[in-house]
Symmetry: C2
Subunit: 286 residues, 2 copies
């Protein structure tokens, strides 16, 4: 999907938050704001939101010299999510429908998104307070049927910490005899998971890199190696808003698992903000 | 108080909201964002936040031709607040401390602030759910004592709709035999109350204009007539964040009634966001 007018102030706010995390030097933060402001006129709304935001994120690195402003926060989110992991596993094992429960937990984890939300995410509260009414697993039946037919799954991860919430689903899929490739970013961007984050989270399936350092999955920015995996994939799980934004128009057998966190996504999906969705790609038919 | 770095993205967000309310023409909204972005580097953090924001608000008018983007919303807020007015009056009349109750209601009304918050203010919820713990009427005793000594009160209003929440206090003061001058903006800015808004709200004391169209009370922008009233005032009630931001360093006998809605104000006052305050000016001593 293309970026919307709403994305412009959101990108500007992201620049401020990232700059604050990148440096304590107020003059550098001011410089980021000034230059980001000057670049507003160049933000291209024909691009997807992560692509539109990229020149602004590059400014943070250029001005502050910090290419990983959320590094410490990512580690903290993983640590906190790991402390919830035993409860997640218990919930799945006690559930009448473990697959559905693992899917839900994975979607809850998508609350840990520092692109569209603030630094202060109450991970424990998100986990405990997720309300049944907010889960809209519209294409769960299709997901389940397809799952029984396929052996290999490409699981495109989103954020650090969310990676721990992915584990019950990844592990259940492995237990079902599936081969899961868990794809992460090559370079840090916002709080997106890299290989290090996935490993710290205890992901114990094969981890691959998309080759990219842009939020979401912008295929033009991915490595040839990843593109080969992507093209031959017959079952793709895509986590988070960024991946939805960049892959929703790509013809591929994708199931999107994410929480709706802003108005443009709410308009595009036609589900209210706060909805926790499982949607199949519009191009995918059983 | 001076504007802070946090004010910059806030001002940019305000520009977007105001532009959306000023026009449906997306190309004009984009033009506002582009020009506001270009002006970020000129935002002067040595000014108070309302002064720092003024060049951006002027852009909305210049680009969209709409000098009162919140006109309809202001009327709607007044209408909704008026429907709560009988309950406000009842609360005051049933209270053991009617003055304190009227002060509290007046502060609750300050939630209706489209500068620091979004368009969608749940006025009814703000009124019903205001929690006792959030009221920090630190200088209420001083307020009460001073009140008994003074006959004339300058009441500097803030926002349309909030004006209705001011009425129980204004009316109680009148009943106590005080002469209340209710000061509003000369020109529309954000959702600040003008004479028309005060009249629509049923304010039945003498309404005067500050002569200004800047949020808060920037004395340099006020009329000579208002400045004469201000200078000779011995008891001033100042409503809202904007008035606090612009008057907190002015030596005058001011009692500030407002809700803390952002980080810079929380830091300046040392009270958490959400606090509903009655503070006397630091320059004022009994």
């Amino acid at each position: 999907m293309k970026a919307k007018l709403d994305c412009i102030p959101c990108i500007f706010n992201q620049a401020f938050r990232a700059a604050q995390n990148a440096t304590n030097d107020k003059s550098l933060i001011r410089k980021v704001l000034n230059e980001a402001g000057g670049k507003v006129k160049d933000i291209d709304l024909n691009l997807t939101p992560p692509e539109a935001a990229l020149p602004i994120y590059r400014l943070i690195d250029k001005i502050t010299g910090n290419s990983n402003p959320y590094g410490d926060i990512k580690k903290e989110h993983i640590r906190r999510a790991l402390s919830l992991y035993p409860v997640m596993k218990k919930r799945v094992s006690l559930s009448k429908d473990p697959l559905k429960e693992a899917v839900k937990i994975s979607i809850i984890g998508n609350a840990i998104d520092l692109g569209s939300t603030l630094n202060e995410i109450d991970i424990e509260k998100e986990f405990e307070d997720a309300e049944e009414k907010d889960f809209i697993l519209r294409d769960f039946e299709s997901f389940k049927q397809k799952l029984f037919r396929e052996k290999e799954i490409l699981y495109i991860a989103d954020n650090a910490g969310e990676t721990v919430f992915d584990r019950p689903l990844v592990e259940l899929l492995s237990d079902m005899g599936k081969s899961v490739l868990y794809a992460v970013k090559e370079y840090p961007i916002i709080n997106d998971a890299t290989r290090e984050d996935a490993e710290l989270s205890g992901i114990n399936t094969k981890i691959i890199s998309t080759g990219s350092g842009i939020a979401g999955t912008v295929l033009q920015s991915c490595s040839e190696e990843f593109l080969n995996v992507f093209k031959r994939a017959r079952f793709i799980i895509s986590k988070g808003q960024g991946n939805y934004e960049t892959l929703s128009n790509v013809p591929a057998p994708i199931f999107f698992l994410f929480k709706v966190k802003c108005k443009p996504i709410s308009i595009d999906t036609r589900f209210p903000i706060g909805s926790m969705l499982l949607l199949k790609s519009s191009s995918y038919t059983d």
